[in-house]
Symmetry: C2
Subunit: 286 residues, 2 copies
Amino acid sequence: LPDAKIPEEIDITSDLGAALMGQSLVFLAIPTQFLRSILLEINNLNIFKEKYFISVAKGIENNTLLRPSGIVRDVLGNVTCGVLSGPSHAEEVARSLPATVVVASKNKKFAKRLQLVLNSNRFRVYTNSDVIGVELGGAIKNVVAIASGICEGLGLGDNAKAALLSRGIVEMARLGVALGARKSTFFGLSGIGDLVTTCYSHFSRNREVGFKIGKGQKLQDILKGMDKVVEGVRTTLSLKKLSERFSIDMPITTEVYKMLYEGKKPIQAVQDLMMRQPKSEMEDLV
Amino acid sequence: LPDAKIPEEIDITSDLGAALMGQSLVFLAIPTQFLRSILLEINNLNIFKEKYFISVAKGIENNTLLRPSGIVRDVLGNVTCGVLSGPSHAEEVARSLPATVVVASKNKKFAKRLQLVLNSNRFRVYTNSDVIGVELGGAIKNVVAIASGICEGLGLGDNAKAALLSRGIVEMARLGVALGARKSTFFGLSGIGDLVTTCYSHFSRNREVGFKIGKGQKLQDILKGMDKVVEGVRTTLSLKKLSERFSIDMPITTEVYKMLYEGKKPIQAVQDLMMRQPKSEMEDLV
């Protein structure tokens, strides 16, 4: 964030031990696929007992198919780890523009405490106890955002994009319920809220990757030109595996996988999505 | 739609009797506040028996607080009247860009028949039996779109807009359930789908009105300069009454009402929305 001013009260250090020492609340802002390696370092320091963790990563680890809070517990054992998610592009939060987010933890007291610590007139914090749903929403929305970018790259218009979002949230919820989430969470800030921001904001790298795919570029060429992590590209791999393992129909994710990794032509993917058997909306929404 | 080509098979007439004669399926594409007067003319012609009606209007009549299909039955008696809704800006549909819509009717056979008649590889049609939910979603989204335009006029950014959409859908659903709709319908194409398109598309007049309010213009001055109907401006009045009659908390609608009709400053309205009591997301979503 080159233009953002870091408040003077914040010390910046690359010394993990110094950063953690004496702190009870630890925010883990590390991309999903790199989270485990940092946690292993924390584990080696052996100073993580009685700390509370909050993950803000949005993805699913490729090999283990674990969500970020699951990776934390996998490495550190039975620590308390909540998650923070929702539509909160850093570029805007840093400028003190208003945002709303969700903190999720099964530990209601911890969620409530986090809410009180973080809530302000610029940053409105809701609580939710459905950690699975909040984390999955944040992960899957990146894949739908890639699809949304593809739609734009093809010049398909606003109606098509809205269709993609509406049906994207349905397939998110379908997988989520199979994994133990509450369906309703996907219709909240960490689901549809974050999805909308990611699909329409010019800050979104996932959308940008999709846009270039829609314009006919190849994934490896696109990634070569980017210096930041694009979570959705890796999450697509994890979701493909999860949908197969749990036999969940995820048509949008499947088409994104085929376009990213099997060279399927975007226009053909759209055609295949539109020509599916006509159905009732209620089968999915009830 | 100045650039759209009307197919040669379509006859255009201003003679209501000639338009209706011999047709079994009648699409009513008339703005809500003018629907009753045209229906009264149809009623006088006395040729509406055994016809099926489909309304595409998105609003709530100001004096009666009836939805469009309710106005149809109020005037024509117990006729079959389905509704068609969802993200389908005419500008794009006319160019054969892909769109998805919902047809809703309590008469499942009729809904299914409409689906088969209208479905194509460019126009994907879902059915839903919740007429109340589909019509309310289409009406209320225009009011949230005004709020969304105000957000943009104030320069508040993508995070704020996503918050507005997420919380807007929650208050839509809250009113809907009180009026007999299914909550889940608001999370489908005619709810969140249409809401997203209206809030982000440059075709939306509701958004445009909001944008100008956000920039400090007065409602009467804005409307003077527009030659098309802006449904949301009138729907705000109906929703205000409905929320009071059913004692439903609709914070966004209430603030839009105050900005449009009581001269409340937009920046104050945003401040008041952000400073409400912190809460759990789950109270609303379950």
